[in-house]
Symmetry: none
Subunit: 188 residues, 4 copies
Amino acid sequence: MARPKSGDRRSAILSAAIRIIASEGLGAPTALIAKEAGVSNGSLFTYFETKADLLNRLYIEVKAEAAIAAMDGLPLKAGIRKRALHMWSNSLDWATACPEKRRVLAHLAVSGDITPASRRAGHQAMAGVASLIEQSRENGPMRKAPLEFVVAILNALTDATIDFMIRDKANAEKHRTAGFEALWRMIG
Amino acid sequence: MARPKSGDRRSAILSAAIRIIASEGLGAPTALIAKEAGVSNGSLFTYFETKADLLNRLYIEVKAEAAIAAMDGLPLKAGIRKRALHMWSNSLDWATACPEKRRVLAHLAVSGDITPASRRAGHQAMAGVASLIEQSRENGPMRKAPLEFVVAILNALTDATIDFMIRDKANAEKHRTAGFEALWRMIG
Amino acid sequence: MARPKSGDRRSAILSAAIRIIASEGLGAPTALIAKEAGVSNGSLFTYFETKADLLNRLYIEVKAEAAIAAMDGLPLKAGIRKRALHMWSNSLDWATACPEKRRVLAHLAVSGDITPASRRAGHQAMAGVASLIEQSRENGPMRKAPLEFVVAILNALTDATIDFMIRDKANAEKHRTAGFEALWRMIG
Amino acid sequence: MARPKSGDRRSAILSAAIRIIASEGLGAPTALIAKEAGVSNGSLFTYFETKADLLNRLYIEVKAEAAIAAMDGLPLKAGIRKRALHMWSNSLDWATACPEKRRVLAHLAVSGDITPASRRAGHQAMAGVASLIEQSRENGPMRKAPLEFVVAILNALTDATIDFMIRDKANAEKHRTAGFEALWRMIG
DNA sequence: GATGAATGAGTATTCATTCAT
DNA sequence: AATGAATGAATACTCATTCAT
């Protein structure tokens, strides 16, 4: 038979982990994740050495996905404000579309199980985003602040905006715009 | 009467919990906390019904302490920008002085063990802060945004700034100022 | 002040133990018994060395009470069958009137905490009853069986009858009579 | 398939439970039972959900075994007295041969952990015995008493007889016979 | 590889008993 | 003596990880 669909199993586990961790938190038993993935609990450990390993992979993959989503369809020729707005919208769209992934990322971000290496990998995945921010602030009031500081603020602002969009869906559009305007006032 | 319940013991446990949870996370064994507090593991449960109870009290007390610190010595007669800056500085000073408390608060904030009631208590403690923000944005670009949204952004911005001050202590002062300027650009 | 009313406290504890153990079983915490007795948990241990001690005293006292109840108002001049019936009725009346004491006795009888010495004390308290049985079987078919065997059967039969009287109160009288007739057929 | 759940392990646990509970009572730690069964403490819980579950299964299985033993080799064509005597002897033989099981059953019978469902299952297992009793008393003095009452008395009488046989082994045979005669006088 | 049973370290909580007040 | 806080041993149950099949 052709190659065993190990890739399938691996991603089945990963996406089961998202669903389970989103609802149960990081304390969720690996056995539950395996079950949700339709896989035996033993199998989980042939794809991931330890639970911590699974968590780290999850962190990296979801982070990467978020980064890709953020840059999707970026109008390369457009002005910087336009491109920034595009990315901002993309990020919020993604977060709204995959609330579970966002929850999981929030859990993982504060987990002691995520290694510095994984965090670095996460940052690298966000390189495109970082560069866009770099350009955005180039002529603004934060032009001298360390890039990381600006990134941190952006992340925080994004989180706050998303939280609010989810909490008050009726006015989601307004919040999205208000968030961007606030951002631009800060760095643009 | 027998040996009366001792406030000292209670706070010994609470502050041991801060130290232990800051370094071990919320999964830290109650026995370890008790030991750090110089108290028997059974005693912990005469002061707190359950571990979750301990966590909730911790959340409320530390949150209240942060609120008090934020408002300490507020120059009531000063203009709004000055007062906002004072609060901003206070918050960052406190967070810098008690990094463990901040870490613990960060852990607790995302914990499923903190009850809605405790969260409400936390918000109430922050009432003074909220009112100051309310005034700050009164004539600014975010005057129409929901207060909660502004609060969320402030929190996020504070966190980002603190993170950065801690990470790059040499330029802590600059980051503190830059953070406030960013804030004021957004809401002032 | 006159003598401290220690006797009161002691019996308060004992009767609280009956109520609590009847409803919670032998696993009931001593603290609960103390509370029900209106006494501090520490005090319980000035009246009874250990929980096992409390249980043993309880066993002996309740057993003695049952024995006394059984012999109460015994018509000394009457014939043996009449006296036996009187005792039989007394026992069932007592058990019906104090179901909690009976429950407690049932629990204690199978407990590993009751010492042989206590069991002997219990038997001694039942001496009057034993003697009556002795006479009852004197000319009957079990005249050669060991007394203890007959006693055991009587106890068992009593228990069964009481259980049934309690379970089917409407026909309690019938069961009481049927039980005695069965007894008499066996030994009389 | 992985290593299949093993009936051997299950019964090893069950019979270890009998030995341990017989000597230590129902308070015996599950870890001790597991150890006696030559199994890890965790394994006990793959065969029985909770300790209470283990206790209930034990109750049902031992009760069933007692019932089967009681009816073993029953001479179906014989007269009722003969059949009753056969059952009586069987029961006593079994109880004498497995004193631990009897002890355990005695403990379990009064335990609050045994569910009504388990008690019902126990009664059903005893259906054959019940029917034999029904026939036995059919023409006797207790023909009008509720069957359950007669069963209770039989149980009690059996218990008393066994206790005595065990206590006074030298005359076990005599007690066995005396017990049956007493029974037959009551109901036959 | 896949399975799921086996393992055993780890943990919150209880409770008899002691002891400071 | 009375109180009730302090103690710490004890215990059911969980779960990441291993391993027999």
